[in-house]
Subunit: 214 residues, 2 copies
């Protein structure tokens, strides 16, 4: 049982550990030293030990880490041993791409519904699930025990829609709209601002070009 | 002219400043104090001053920041005063969503081509640009001065495809494949791992639930 407060930086690294451990598990690897994991993941062994110490360590001196145990523990810490019901607001290309993304389902995020205000999209099916009109969303959230909403709508309506979602019981939002949402304390928001990633890339590209030209 | 090395944490925050300043500019705001910007963006005024000090400050005592000047300077730092030619590898739902995303174009990222190995997608148009077969990608990169590739293909082929792209002159990759790419030093990679964001959300959701139940 994890009770200690863990920094968001560590939390941000957990999914990557989880991914590597899952791949090792699939390859039949039973144990791995922090040194080997360090080389594989290109982070320092000391970083790995420090990160894992946040939730009890998992390592045995001279033995290394038990891959399966570590995988299951991180899974539990991330809450992936439970299922979460999820809806997607905005059934355009991005919403459909996410709806079709089976990896979510494998991790316990169950797509229950998609919503859009665009009449031409309503009724269209994504993995067998029909796109519904926005007028149905409030009742749907309340009746289907939905805790996560994925927002793939333009920024002009995102703030307003987020408020409605929260009022009806949504606890966490994965936000692709290029705007910061204004939600009450306790509502979890994770922003995926695609332009921001591209801008960061652009900066690093310019920076590198300048340095190599010196 | 920026010559100092700026930390990736600061760089990661620049797009958000850029977005807020762009909105202020659109609203006709000419100047803003670090205090006002702090309240608007929900970060401390000292953080803002510290961040801006990395590239010369921009502020005047008792006057605040000149919004337009600051906007243009950050734009220049991010390399947004230049254009970058971009291709998308993988023209499925996600690739098409990104291809249709006009915000990229507004920031100087010009979509030049989309590629897919799926025969049924080849020839399909996204914003007037036809999806081409993967056999054309190498020549296309060399002949069209492409520096950025967006990877929206499954992880099974992403590592191999990234190598081919880099061999033909790609300098930066926005990677949506759920795998770490193995690229030579100097090639810029920005990962957008959508499952990771969802897992982080899941952790914070669990954490909050536990805390409120105490």
């Amino acid at each position: 049982m994890v009770e200690k407060e863990i920094s968001q930086a560590v939390i941000g690294r957990l999914p990557r550990y989880f991914r590597y451990l899952g791949e090792l598990k699939d390859q039949g690897v039973e144990r791995i030293s922090s040194q080997e994991l360090s080389e594989l993941m290109q982070v320092t062994a000391s970083q790995i030990r420090q990160d894992f110490n946040n939730f009890g360590g998992f390592g045995q001196q001279g033995y290394g880490y038990n891959v399966d145990l570590l995988y299951r523990e991180i899974s539990k810490i991330l809450g992936l041993d439970k299922t979460h019901n999820l809806i997607i607001i905005g059934a355009g290309n991005l919403g459909q791409a996410l709806g079709n993304y089976m990896n979510f389902e494998r991790r316990g995020f169950i797509l229950k519904g998609l919503f859009d205000k665009n009449e031409t999209l309503i009724g269209k099916k994504v993995r067998g699930i029909p796109v519904r009109g926005m007028d149905e969303v409030e009742q749907f959230i309340r009746e289907n025990n939905i805790d996560i909403a994925v927002l793939t709508i333009p920024k002009t309506s995102a703030v307003e829609v987020a408020e409605i979602l929260v009022q009806n019981g949504i606890k966490a939002i994965l936000n692709f709209a290029h705007v910061d949402l204004n939600v009450p304390k306790g509502i979890q928001v994770e922003n995926v601002h695609l332009s921001d990633s591209l801008m960061k890339l652009s900066y690093n590209l310019e920076r590198y070009n300048k340095e190599t030209k010196k």
